[in-house]
Amino acid sequence: MGQDTTRPRDYAIEARGVGVRYSLRFTKKTSIRRTFARLLHPERGERSFWALRELSFRLDPGESLGVIGPNGAGKSTLLQVLAGIIQPSEGVVEVHGHVSTLLHLQAGFDQDLSGRGNIHLAGALLGIDHRLMEEREESIVEFADIGAFIDAPLRTYSSGMRAKLGFSIATAVDPDILLLDEVLQTGDEAFREKSQQRIREVLTAAKAVVLVSHDMSWITDFCNRAILLEKGRIVADGPPEEVVALHVEKSENRRSVRRAVMEDMRTGKVAPKRRRSIIEAATKGPSRVEVAGSGEVAGTSEAPPQGETAGASEAPPRGESHP
């Protein structure tokens, strides 16, 4: 990656057969001791799972794509792949145009730099010209509207302030392609209105937008296309209203099946260990979890979050941060 392929193309993003595999051998808590343990018991090792699989789509200029799906479906992973942060384990992604990717708006960049310092650091990270960034600085500061905090270190910020600043930076840099994750988390009511307005502006200026949100109204309001991801695969692709309706119906369905199974468990009709397979069968999602050997990672220790059926094995090792 990194090569310039500046020949004119008529699409903004193209993904062909993209798959992302996470190795569960290296997680945050890897230590040499665990590696030795795995060398001694190879049958317990070599766990991996596909966060995305066989993903193909093409985004034309002018399209704004909403990505929806249950927790752990691979939405954030998809954005990271489109941003070039993660490289696909299989398949190819081609992106034409400058990408603005402040994926976790709440995170910020450097905790010890001031808000202004972070604006310039963001500019340097995104490779945006220094002078342009100077020019934009005041408008970013004004839009973020966090008062004197702009000159205080980022670690003193509330999460709302971080999100405001992050959103202001992400949308101020005139990206060709804007990738946004969880826009709805952005600040208070007044700011939300302002940011809706800003998104509309960016939508008209940018070549393409990809938006991940749990707030269905954002998808229907701002996108002219939506895809539904389930377990790393595209299960629906089309007009936002239809895809959203399908998603709502499916998660309703899952919830009711789950409720019914839980009820049966309570009354003793179903053994607890069968719960998962029943829900799984009832909602018929494509399977994407490949876990060779059994272990606690594929286990049942975690209760699946709402709207989630396949359970703990879907949580990627780094943890997708959907608050």
Partner: protein, 304 residues
């Protein structure tokens, strides 16, 4: 639309990775193109270190001075060492050692610490260890100014034209450190044990390197040490990269202690053959470190 030239406007991303030479070419290009980013990260690093202390970046200079003071007391008062002009003797070696030690502790966590950044923006990760080292170069620079002041104002009898070799020796040390830094910063993402281990290894390395002693000042007792170590042990001790580097630093500033251990000869030229060989080895380590780093880089965002 905009003048951004530092980040590619378009990219193609797949599991295919270039070979070793391609990786090195890529790394060099990234470092050259993203100099502004390196500067920004370096500034952030400098700010971070100075942020929570009253004296701020004055500590760059104070830190090695205090450390030298502690060893001075330990060795002259408790162990009754009588090397002539001992403060200069110690400072000439402790200062570059301090540079190495803090470079390594910064580099070990350079990638791991930027977890947030790595997961939200695509940028060449190699700028992280590079900017961590750059920040340390800056503080070493101020330390060297102090060393020169000590040399010329307090111990002018030692000063010769040979201090001009300092930048050359520092360049070799920087190359050596860069190679190691690239390796540990990348591997530490996967094995956090390395971060803990590095601290201990560096402390051990400190005592095995001629910081508190020198090969000539132990004359008299050196025969006994040589016998105890055996030829291999002695060779390792003598050709340890920091034996070469620290001896060179001391030779060009302090000079050499007499065989008797009571007098000294002032600053002299370093052993250029040894330095040259160390430089070649270091260059090889930089290439190897770059390849290791670039090979592991795609996995950072997934593992962190």
């Amino acid at each position: 639309m905009q003048t951004a030239t530092e980040a590619p406007a378009s990219f193609r991303s797949s599991a295919l990775r270039p070979g070793p030479l391609g990786l090195i070419r890529e790394a060099v290009g990234e470092i050259l193109r993203r100099q502004r980013l390196i500067r920004h990260l370096m500034n952030a690093e400098v700010k971070r270190k100075g942020a929570d202390t009253v004296l701020g970046n004055v500590w760059w200079v104070l830190d090695p001075v205090i450390q030298m003071g502690a060893y001075l007391i330990l060795l002259t008062v408790i162990f009754q060492r009588a090397t002539p002009d001992f403060p200069l003797f110690l400072f000439a070696a402790i200062l570059p050692w301090k540079w190495f030690a803090s470079s390594m502790s910064g580099a070990v966590n350079a990638v791991v610490r930027q977890e947030r950044l790595i997961k939200q923006v695509q940028f060449p990760k190699i700028v992280l260890p590079v900017s961590a080292l750059a920040a340390e170069v800056l503080s070493f620079f101020f330390g060297v100014l102090l060393l020169l002041a000590v040399l010329f104002l307090m111990f002018p009898a030692h000063a010769t034209i040979n201090v001009l070799w300092l930048p050359v020796i520092a360049a070799v040390q920087l190359t050596f450190t860069l190679g190691l830094a690239l390796m540990v910063s990348a591997v530490n993402v996967f094995y956090r044990d390395l971060g803990i281990l590095t601290g201990h290894l560096i402390r051990l390395w400190f005592f095995l390197s001629p910081t508190l002693w020198s090969f000539d000042s132990t004359v008299g007792r050196f025969d006994a040490i040589a016998r105890a170590l055996g030829p291999t042990g002695l060779a390792i001790l003598r050709y340890n990269p920091f034996a070469i580097l620290l001896t060179a630093y001391r030779e060009v500033t302090y000079g050499q202690v007499d065989v008797a251990g009571t007098g000294f000869t002032p600053g002299q030229a370093p052993d250029l053959v040894l330095l040259g060989m160390l430089f070649l080895v270091s260059l090889g380590m930089v290439l190897l470190g770059t390849i290791i780093f670039k090979r592991l880089e795609p996995a950072f965002a997934k593992v962190l």
